[in-house]
Symmetry: D3
Subunit: 299 residues, 6 copies
């Protein structure tokens, strides 16, 4: 069970300009094989499927995956809102269909944003292919699942870097910068879990790919504040023992890892204006009388 | 953002016996087109994509969908744990691969339960096909999205009824009984939302399909306690205005609808024993020395 | 069994100009989830699968779905010919491959139109993904199937509106204008079927989405002629009892619904010129002697 | 445009017994790569897409494909009704869900027949995978399209033979026997078309695979009546010139090919009883008062 | 088992310029339904699956398919390297992510080239859809499999012609010119196999589609050297009897067919420069000290 | 380019008995996400796509992946022949279709083995879903690609273990025993490559999952002969520098790793008898006269 909050983890600046093709690329971080749908669903299923979690040695790993799973919900929100902000105002607003307001779809990479959605995100990748449950790996073997998660986060990191490099739009960069830091925490967390479990020393593998978060100004600013050292203990009562894994020094800069209880304070979810040419949401499109009627019925 | 709890909404009795083919059928309620992955993801995306939500008339609908989305997380848990319980003990436990412990897979409908997972659930349907983002509908037009949701819940109801009818296993029946009631609340909620939005009168459509929840003893017992009258207001501070939609009388039995704040108390998540023949989780399979080493590292 | 006619339901004007990206978007109305392949196949399967159709109360619903299914064949034709007309002449005609006649494919959204087909339609959507049988819903429960069909037609309506808004091309507008009217008939028909079956009053739901057909000049012109009031009784002898559902007043403008026997008169299918650079059809590309040979063989 | 008839091309005897796994295999002939959905849709799209059809030399080929396309509609009906008859009565009829009436689904190959449909067919194959538009080939080059069709029909023939061999059920055998003969006509027709177009001599290729229709008693009986010599000219007015291709002697038995106008007389569509445990159609499940109400509304 | 060589069959000139959309189209020849992945995998599976191959009459056909399968590996290499060359240098090289080096992805048809790969090929088609095992046909019936292969090669030929026509880039033309000739050999080989097996005369079917290889200067130059007359006997010891099928005169130009032992001499595989903005391969991106460390470890 | 041999790497004993469901499970090792199609294609594409391979430090890694890629071809052969042997004789042989020889398909997990193939393998997994190019990972970043390969081989290892555990059939056990050893070499090879590249120490991670190859008698016997210490240098001239990675001691048993040139000697490919009820290959099904005719044509 969850309690959901109407806040997002970090403030997203307004886009430089509406940018439908940029939105089409950002979709990779939402619904691609290495997108946030994948991280969310992998860890959610691995926790529900975790056999033997009540064992003393197993519990810290269960708690770790569960806490990270919970954070991933915030990440699908950030990517989704980035897409939605990029798509807002992409086509001229209005209620007259004869002006061909959606003409821009002809030159856009992803037509679903105009036909299937109201210029908003869908769980698909940068080529418009839907996210699939095939992306979930849950073998039941803890070591193998942790290795998968470590690889998944490295692959996700590569995708974030590359999407960052497609644009200088401030919304995209703020979002990818934040996710590079938070995803970086998860990369380290799964490596550390493997180390605790086996005694192997994975520290020299970092960074994968071969470029540091410090090269990305938006990420560097957050790491300067220490955000890469924090693992959020989403629910300290129910998933307590993460500090038995998340401990010691960060393998890249040697800073001290620490656990923080709860979720980030965040900010209110972004405002998404009406797009009347898409009757989204359609309430503003109807006449005043009807609005009053609805108000009455809501009464 | 979410806070996650390590509890499930309702107590699941132990299965009558391990039942891999039963588990294969229950997968339809998890990863099928009308499964809980679909309800969760449809409503989650519709809320993140909801344009104009800050408008006075729109807000109650936004709050309604957001609250229901949050509840659906509990539903993927219930279905997943049902599958996991049915699969526990399905094959003989042990660490010797030469005894062919997984021979049962030869007669089982879904081989992924034995090869891809540790006898646990995956986001796929009753034929082993993965859940897909194509199942998410988010047009941006409120009326159309609500109509979709109403249809989706009716389709989900049909699937629950039919899966119920495949077995007399108590775990499956407890789970489907509970979900028939809670899904029934969502059917009514979306119908009511359409009524509030348009003034149409949908009450006589019920029940869809043409069989009452009261015909299912496990559901009837919960409705006798009034569970079908309750809409959970998951987060009263952030998604407050649901009572402007969830109000009046239940269209089937005329009981008074009411809103309850917070999530159900629930019970602790079920315990899932090790399956050593699948090295799930694999920690128990290693020698004592190594366990002590891990304990030390965790230290 | 069917008898097929080499006519299309309504005259399609020539496109303003060849328009491959426009054609790529129109594909959504053919092979998209809410395209005409979906309406045709849903109703065709629902009729073949209709249990208990010989019962007195069931028969009118069977006849209704069967008649609508038959009309949908005309709709896949209209969308297909629209695509084919938009693609005709898109690339320079000729038989010399060294002139790179298909260079335009480099800038086109859908390369299958140039590589897999001869600049013609295929059963795929606006992103080039194939239509799938997953789009067919046939639960066997009449009420649920009717609700599905009502939703499907509303979703199809949204897609038509949005494709209309992408262009001022006269072919696309004539086609979407016609289909908005005829699809509008089907929306009302399924609503009316639900009303007759249950007594619910769905009239106030219209229009979904919140924009009237009257806003589309090409649709309005046809509605002014009453086309939105007519249900075609495709085969009066075999599927007779549609008037028991299609009766009363139109929920949007109060006009009187009526049944018309047979299919529209229509016009001859559009002429599609050769595209020799694609060897389509290839007969014109061969020398005169060979043509005479074929003529002889045909003799 | 089409006119649809409520008759099927040939009488289907009752199954020996309900047979859900048999039905699951027959699905290959409906929604498999070489199933009737594929033949119907390939030829339908190839005719709508046929460039240069008005040319003297091209027209007979256009007419041929169009006539065959129209016949394929009858074939999806026959396969669908075979599946539906095999599934009728597969589970015990009744309205009490607590008796676990659908328990048989646990041992069945295809669970969609019980969960997604009302024990009826869906456009999927023998492994439950949906038919896809990827199965449609329409290159625009006449010779290549004809070669494809020839191969498609040979592949379809192989599948029919193999499905025949899975069972001694009379419904399946009557259906496959009939389709072997009619599909055999299409194999020969496309070979003949290639011969007329190019002068090649394909006669010695037959039969593909290497077993004669005469080996199948149900097919032999129909061929003894000459059914393999007939090409139905579905609409003589609109698609007239098929006799310029369908002429000469049958390559296997030397009988004289001839064209017959119109569609087969056929027989009424099979009756499909209610399956109340699936609320299919659900009308019989409601009380008498409600039935009278519906009758009144239908009034 | 295979031995692999680090050479490609023919020299590929450098592209006129980097060309990502051109690369996106060439993907059809790699991972499309009729791409080289399909020819390779069809023939590889058909040989491994070939029943009764040890029979005197069957063996030449087995040997033929096996030899062609081995050649197809060279063809996936040629198409892959063509794509890789077209993508090299497509984006500005450098290690600073803040310059938005991948901005070009916003205007590119296939974003996977920038996000999923290091500006290199993947097994997908011109719309970015992955190659699928559904493309493999292996019925076990020799005649039907040969007919399939004949059709597959004709379809592949159509695709090569059309991709050739999209560009005047010399790399693409050299590659397609070569493959038209070699694929043309395979078309004839499968036709000849059917002729030997059945006695049918397929010679007049050529060419399919209706345009000769001689129309393509790069192909004509190779045919002038006789390359279209040669079947490579990949492994004369293990797959010897191909000359019993590949014999007689070429059906198009009457030249004498002959068998050549071994593989083409070929040329070294093309050099692919680093793309540091994609950290591909990433070794050059790290500092000198680390390079020396790796060198030491390799030591 | 490749040279192909008609030998398989290791002798496969005859199955205990025909076993179609066993064959259906073994398909996971061929066409599953972690099957041999995936390993073959991942490494083949990674080598063709390898940027900067001519650099001194990069070359050993290129050579390593190329050599392993070449070996994987032998592995798809072994899995395919295992499936083919399990399916041989599964249904009664004969040429009379009226005996329902394929009745066994009704109880079989995978119907494609009977309908789409001649009781032989296809590139699909244990649920009949086709292998897909989505399984290929080729990011271009060497470290990330190596990490992927390490994970892929660990996942493949888990699948082999689990398929081994489904049966005591000697063919399956011989095949999986051999592949556990050879795949184990690849696991170590990629770990070693990461160690050489970064200096990380991964040795303590082994084995993944937590069960040693020594627990599998067929694997142990081969390891006792040292097969787990050998990396085959497939083509010493073209891919020479593998010994710079494959060196030192085996992380599990401390034996000395060494490189062996060439491919294993292997044994002739297994003989697959005719299945005349499937007309596979169909040559034996035709009369003596025709066989003599073919012999003459082969002449």
């Amino acid at each position: 069970m969850i309690i959901r909050f109407d806040r997002v983890a970090v403030d997203l600046p307004a886009p430089a300009s509406p940018n439908p093709n940029g939105a089409s690329l950002v979709q990779e971080l939402l619904g691609g094989k290495f997108g946030e749908m994948s991280t969310l669903m992998n860890y959610t299923f691995q926790t529900m499927n975790f056999r033997g979690r009540e064992q003393e040695q197993a519990r810290p790993f269960y708690d770790l995956i569960a806490n990270i799973a919970a954070e991933e919900h915030a990440h699908i929100e950030l990517v989704t809102y980035t897409i939605n902000l990029l798509l807002s105002g992409t086509t001229p607003r209005g209620t007259d269909p004869t002006t061909a307001p959606l003409a821009g779809a002809n030159e856009s990479r992803n037509s679903y944003h105009f036909i299937a959605s109201g210029q908003t995100a869908l769980p698909m990748d940068s080529m418009g292919r839907p996210w699939t449950g095939d992306n979930v790996f849950s073998s039941g073997n803890l070591k193998l699942d942790l290795l998968h998660n470590f690889f998944l986060e490295c692959g996700a990191r590569a995708n974030k870097i590359r999407v960052y490099e497609t644009t200088d739009d401030p919304t995209v960069r703020a979002m990818t910068g934040y996710l590079l830091v938070r995803g970086g925490v998860h990369v380290v967390a799964y490596a550390r879990a493997l180390e605790v479990l086996t005694g192997a020393d994975l520290g020299k593998l970092f960074p994968i790919p071969d470029i540091s978060n410090k090269q990305f100004p938006e990420a560097k600013a957050l790491e300067d504040q220490g955000l890469h050292r924090i693992l959020y203990r989403n629910n300290p009562a129910d998933f307590p023992r993460v500090a038995e894994v998340w401990k010691g020094l960060h393998p890249e800069d040697g800073s001290v890892l620490h656990v923080e209880d709860g979720i980030p304070e965040g900010v209110p979810s972004p405002v998404l204006p009406d797009e009347p040419q898409l009757t989204a949401p359609g309430i503003g499109a109807i006449d005043e009388t009807m609005l009053q009627e609805i108000a009455t019925r809501l009464g």
